[in-house]
């Protein structure tokens, strides 16, 4: 007769657990299906026809895809490095000081690329860069590098600033007390303590650059296709799992880097 008395769970809310589970599954299911069909033996994107690496082999031999992938990596690396260096310098200048003139405007500027819709930035860049291109005749990768660097800066800035704010000011005071001039203090104390923040900042900048499609698509000149712009160009055509294979290849570095950032932050 006696029913087991169940303790009243203070934190539970009816249905929330189901919603959370469904939400997370829904976040992954479409991506998983996309990845699964990149291994499809037939050219269908909806009917499973057996397992095959064929589309990966095909993508691997498609110079358009490989060149686009290599250019994506190149661009993400260069823009990531520039953005990280600039963001580190800016974060050091802007954190841990009393309020100063120009603080708000600097902060707004740094974060400005986060706020403006990408398409608006992309088109305004298109207009300006087109004018510069016809004036100078230069149509190299410089335009993409500067555009990517600009929108990567706020992402690189975020973890670096967080790390700086969490840092004990006394450490630098202690270094100065122990005969380190400002430069030595920076090299021996600030930079090493900042390390994980800088690594996380670079990784985020790298991922953001790798993901960009709108700005790249409008700013690029001939021969500057990245993997996302290549994929966007495929929409109107008959899509085959080859695009899925390319997408799967692009997913891997992003997921690895984000997991790495997560682990770095947790260790802190």
């Amino acid at each position: 007769m006696a029913t087991k008395a169940k303790a009243f769970d203070l934190k539970a809310q009816p249905g929330f657990s189901a919603i959370a589970r469904i939400a997370v599954v829904s976040l992954y299911l479409p991506i998983i299906i996309l990845v699964v069909f990149s291994f499809n033996a037939t050219s269908s994107l909806g009917v499973w026809g057996g397992f095959s690496f064929g589309w990966f082999v095909m993508a691997w031999h498609n110079d358009l895809i490989i060149n686009a992938a290599l250019f994506s990596l190149f661009l993400a690396t260069v823009a990531g490095v520039f953005a990280t260096i600039m963001a580190t310098m800016a974060a050091i200048a802007m954190t841990r000081s009393d309020a100063y003139r120009g603080q708000t405007i600097s902060y707004a500027l740094i974060n400005q690329p986060l706020i403006v819709p990408e398409i608006v930035t992309a088109i305004s860049l298109l207009i300006v860069f087109a004018a510069v291109k016809s004036a100078t005749g230069y149509s190299g990768t410089g335009y993409l590098v500067i555009a990517h660097t600009a929108f990567c800066i706020p992402f690189a800035y975020l973890p670096i600033r967080a790390r700086l704010e969490g840092m004990d000011l006394n450490l630098e005071t202690a270094a100065a007390d122990l005969y380190a001039d400002p430069w030595k203090t920076f090299v021996h104390v600030t930079l090493p303590r900042l390390g994980p923040g800088i690594v996380a900042g670079f990784m985020l900048a790298f991922v953001v650059s790798l993901d960009d499609v709108v700005i790249t698509d409008l700013v690029k000149s001939g021969g500057q296709e990245t993997l996302p712009t290549f994929m966007l160009g495929q929409i109107r055509r008959d899509m085959t799992p080859e695009v899925n294979a390319a997408a799967t290849m692009l997913l891997i570095p992003s997921i690895l880097l984000v997991t790495a950032v997560h682990l770095i932050n947790r260790k802190k």
Binding site: T173, A175, D177, L178, Y179, A180
Partner: protein, 374 residues
């Protein structure tokens, strides 16, 4: 029991740190906050000198000015007679032990200790030897290669000390270095610090708000309040002859009675009328003036019969605290009075509330206080 006379500086005494009219203010206009107000102190070589006061009294500000972390608004800081105001902290032969230790978490214990010498450009072998010596001095040889996050609070404290002492500073500044430790460890470190100071012969400037710590460790103490130095003296002077009510209250337990000076009673002694009785108190006063008299709780005998010059009182409560018994009493004029009696099994006896007793003050133990600083 006699009050120690002021220890005059010896003729060969050399000053390590001297501040002259030091002033530090924050903000401006009506919102100006005066953190240090005309502070002039003179700290001798090889001295264990303590800055004592409640939080916000300016003691840490003074320490930071000496270290060079902040600029004074006015005044001078001399190191061995030379003005060090233009020197940034990394050019001052003065090191600091920080309240939270500020150890570099990305370096090992040994690297932390060697940091200052590395920055000074000492040769490698010399650094290695000195680090080993310091590790021995603070008894941390076994943990040299540990990360500073992997050692206990007490050990971190030792590393911070070793790190600051290693480059052989002329003055060591300690900013409440023991406040993060538990009671027992704090007692141990007090002895340890004193030993290090004697062994190294370096001038220590120690900041604390703990009066017991200050009394136990210091050669001399400067008591500070609201940016001012109220009194400088050795622990006995500070305890036995505080200059004013603030110092008397802040250091140790005290009974402070309002009274009136009746007459002279020899050099430095006066007949004072307090709480319905005339007693003899010592200090400076003018005849007829209203005055405050300090009586420490342990400087009183409790008698059961009326005695001349003893203060009549009524027992309110009695608290047994192990080594001592505290008696809470009420004097004739209604003022509260505390007495501390040493316990011993044969003398132990309980008193009932409401009982009548007479308080006889030990010879020369009633002290006249000067005008109160506000």
């Amino acid at each position: 029991m006699s009050i120690a006379t002021h220890v005059a500086p010896a003729a060969d005494r050399k000053s390590a740190i001297q501040t002259i009219g030091l002033q530090k203010s924050y903000g401006s206009g009506a919102a100006t906050f005066l953190a240090l107000d005309d502070v002039s102190i003179d700290i001798a070589e090889n001295e264990f000198f303590t800055l004592l006061g409640p939080s916000g009294c300016g003691k840490t500000t003074l320490l930071r000015l000496i270290a060079g972390f902040n600029f004074p608004t006015d005044g001078q800081i001399l190191l061995h007679g030379k003005d060090i105001a233009p020197l940034p902290p990394f050019k001052r032969p003065i090191n600091t032990v920080f309240q939270n230790y500020a150890l570099f978490a990305h370096m090992s214990v040994a690297e932390n200790i060697g940091f200052g010498m590395k920055m000074l450009g000492w040769p490698k072998e010399k650094i290695t030897a000195r680090v080993a010596e310091m590790l021995r001095l603070v008894r941390m040889e076994a943990l040299a290669e540990r990360r500073t996050s992997a050692i206990s609070g007490g050990q971190q404290q030792r590393v911070a000390l070793a790190r600051a002492l290693a480059p052989q500073p002329q003055v060591l500044l300690l900013d409440e270095p023991l406040s993060a430790l538990d009671y027992k460890l704090r007692k141990e470190m007090q002895v340890e610090l004193k030993r290090l100071q004697t062994e190294t012969g370096i001038t220590f400037v120690f900041v604390t708000h703990d009066q017991e710590e200050a009394l136990a460790m210091s050669d001399r103490i400067a008591v500070m309040s609201k940016g001012k130095v109220l009194q400088v003296g050795n622990p006995r002077e500070i305890y036995n002859a505080p200059v004013d009510r603030f110092v008397a209250d802040f250091i140790g337990e005290s009974n402070i009675l309002e009274g009136r000076v009746l007459d002279d009673a020899g050099p430095g002694a006066f007949q004072v009328y307090v709480a319905g009785t005339t007693i003899t108190a010592y200090g400076h006063a003018t005849r007829g003036s209203a005055i405050q008299v300090l009586i420490r709780p342990e400087h009183v005998d409790v008698l059961d019969i009326a005695t001349p010059n003893a203060l009549p009182a009524e027992v309110e409560n009695e608290v047994f605290v192990g080594s001592d018994t505290r008696l809470g009493l009420k004097l004739e004029n209604g003022a509260r009075f505390t007495v501390r009696l040493s316990n011993s099994p044969e003398l132990d006896r309980q008193r009932t509330a409401g009982g009548r007793v007479w308080l006889r003050i030990h010879d020369r133990c009633a002290r006249l206080l000067g005008a109160e600083h506000v």
